[in-house]
Symmetry: C2
Amino acid sequence: MKKTSLEEQILQTAEELFLEKGFDATSTTDIAKKAGCNQALVHYYFRTKENLFMQIFAKKQEMVFSCLKLKEESDFQTALNDFIDAYFELLMKNRKLPFFIINELIMRDDRRQYFRKKVIESPEYLKYYGVWNTMLQKEIAEGRVRPIELSDLTLHIVSLIVFTFISLPLYSDFFEKDETEIATYLNHRKEAIKEVIFKGIS
Amino acid sequence: MKKTSLEEQILQTAEELFLEKGFDATSTTDIAKKAGCNQALVHYYFRTKENLFMQIFAKKQEMVFSCLKLKEESDFQTALNDFIDAYFELLMKNRKLPFFIINELIMRDDRRQYFRKKVIESPEYLKYYGVWNTMLQKEIAEGRVRPIELSDLTLHIVSLIVFTFISLPLYSDFFEKDETEIATYLNHRKEAIKEVIFKGIS
DNA sequence: GCTGTGTTTAATAGGTCTATTAAATTTGGC
DNA sequence: GCCAAATTTAATAGACCTATTAAACACAGC
């Protein structure tokens, strides 16, 4: 029936807890307790907490990365619009993802090096950057977009999107919003961000 | 000469370490070691780690808050420009501040309640929100700014500014930037943010 | 020089955490 | 039903962390 159920269970529980509280604040005892097994079992299957964590971190990092792999559309504006949609869609389903990644990258040097190697310096990443840049330069040359560097545009967009999700726990807490209100809020934010970006680059 | 030197020293060292690594990752042993005293002395002066931390957190929170208290200018656009300048100036001198505050607010419910009580629900904060809103509505009514909610505009600006500083360790690490390059980068970002905001709301 | 007060230290209690070890238990193949 | 391998547990080593306690030290005022 449930083959190697506990190994799966541990991995899944660890994912929840690491995303919720981060690496430091999550103990293997916590994971075992929530997964319904002995703490030693966590080490039996994954040997170290670091191992277990890295399996999850690599997966989540890949999720963030995958959003960059966007279909090359003819129209820059459409591509950009789709990109924002895709990113928002991903993060609406994984609200804790931005803070999780950022937090681990800031706190730990080795995680930063790992991310750099796997994402920033990957040929794929560099290729996509080139594609986007070509499209942007064409837009600028043809006067549909004001002169702006891709690095700035990217950081604008990432800032606006990511910070929305990083600050989400504060929003829901400070203003006592329930689940449906949050969903409405997020959709509203998505459109507001598109508006300020598209107006801001034209 | 150096009256109650060690108490001062402990407070100062604690500030550095808490800002650098956060509450959880900083031990009273770390603080004592760096301050050059016995670990028990930290508890002698501040009793608990939490006490010590809260003195620092309250101060830092107040710094963030103080930026909202902007002189009321006649011109909305100037006021907004000055606000961005002030915020950037503060954070350029306190680069770790944004992540420090955000991190503690996200990680701990009680910190969030404290912040809410002291900042979000303070009469001052509400008053400033009202003043800004009046100015914004006037701009919109007179056609100088497109219809936009103050909450959205605020979140746009805060996202763009705060994320610049949150992601700064990644920027300097990934692209191997030195101190002067970082200063240049930050000034560049400030202007780029102003540009996208001002174009984005007109 | 003694005394009392404030400062600093060493020592330690009591807790949690990661990781390991050895023993118990389960399971599948024959 | 039995054996070997895989799974799960209890127990524990060793490290570190917060907070307290009691003792040592410094020094001001007399």
